[in-house]
Subunit: 140 residues, 4 copies
């Protein structure tokens, strides 16, 4: 089980809807940003992956529980935890939490499965060995 | 079990990402549009609901399976099926399918739970009686 | 000067922000949808253009006046008018108008310049002859 | 003339389109984020402004020149410069620049006019005195 990684996200007008809260699809953007930054701090840049190995990470399945709404101008933390590393996919658990004054309150939690796929045909491809190694070094 | 309702959606540049396919969060927009139109064809306008009864429908839980990617310029159909009507929530099953030449192919399927909540405090509220009646009339 | 073309757009939650109105960047999505449908009704499909001729239409310049806000659930009409057809670019004038009860009220108007560019290098390319012909046939 | 303020933005998948570049409407999101952070570093929080004074800042006019495309995974800087402070509006000049290796290259530049409006009726309101003072202290 990997350590938690956390990425800060600020709620801007673009993220909210007329209900005064973050639009439900936009939490998926926040979670994708956090996964991207989690990869980056392991030295993995997705544009390089695509250019050099012709693969992309595509979301295959998500399950999201929306517990409390995030509102305009709030500061959030988005966590990334790898639950399982398979040959061609990764299972994540992610939370969106309030930062600042009400720090830690979980607003939204998700199970996310990411598949490693061919950039053109979107068929499964093995996760590159260096990524597997990085994950193992981190105890995943 | 209600009949299927289907709503057409075209994939524009705004919906796609650099992977050449629809960005995973944007299917949730398509599904929300379809649910909105499903309510509308029952005579229910959400802006009126909010103004007159101070309620909104908020997504409480989603589970999405991404099976195949939708691409730029494709024509899609998004289905809406009510699985269960509770006091303060509705359970839906939705699919995003290819229209046109490859008509019917399921690209994405989802279980969606919608809660009826107070517009200010986001606490549960009973679904209005006229909506319950409309659903019963349709065999839900 | 070409005739006006108009494309209907409904305002969904995804389009609005916590101010209760359509987020200012989203009018650009509406205008892009309308330009896409204007091309389509001339028989021009942009995915085919890219696959067969390796070009895309990219926005080079916009000037947008936001006159009145569009709100959640409103029905809009988005117009497309070609002002000028150059070798490698097109000048448009577009309006976003209220449909329905307050039909015709202009909420937003824009001058938009679109460039025809190479899909990989984003350098200018001549607009394909068949598109020029189509435009001439329509009096542009 | 105020000093330049600059805010870093990373390009994620959500920002790009099937052309492989940032979708043209999304630069407006980046510019809005930068204006929000520029206000914040002057001690002005927009949610507080709305709650306490019932005003919002709404974009009245933009003119954007798209010079070069930003691509997936690039790091950008978004500048904010106040050109003029009026009674009920502010004129900005903003640039989106490449950061990192090709630092400083201007990808997109914009003139933006923001109006101070009533949160309910969207009619003009005077800019609060403390904001005017803050701007004057900074030489605007």
């Amino acid at each position: 089980m990997s350590d938690n990684f956390s990425f800060p996200v600020r709620v801007y007008y673009e993220d909210t809807d007329a209900g005064g809260v973050v639009f439900y699809a936009n939490y998926l953007k926040f979670m994708e940003r956090a996964r991207t930054e989690w990869l980056r701090q392991m030295g993995i840049e997705q544009d390089v992956l695509t250019q050099e190995q012709a693969i992309v990470f595509a979301v295959r399945r998500i399950k999201v529980d929306y517990l409390k709404p995030a509102r305009f101008n709030e500061q959030l933390d988005v966590t990334v935890q790898v639950k399982k590393c398979n040959n061609a996919s990764l299972d994540f658990y992610q939370e969106v939490r309030r930062a600042g004054l009400k720090s830690g309150e979980v607003l939204c939690k998700a199970d996310v499965q990411i598949a490693c796929v061919d950039v053109v045909r979107f068929v499964p491809r093995r996760i590159p060995e260096n990524i597997i190694m990085e994950l193992k070094n981190r105890g995943v």
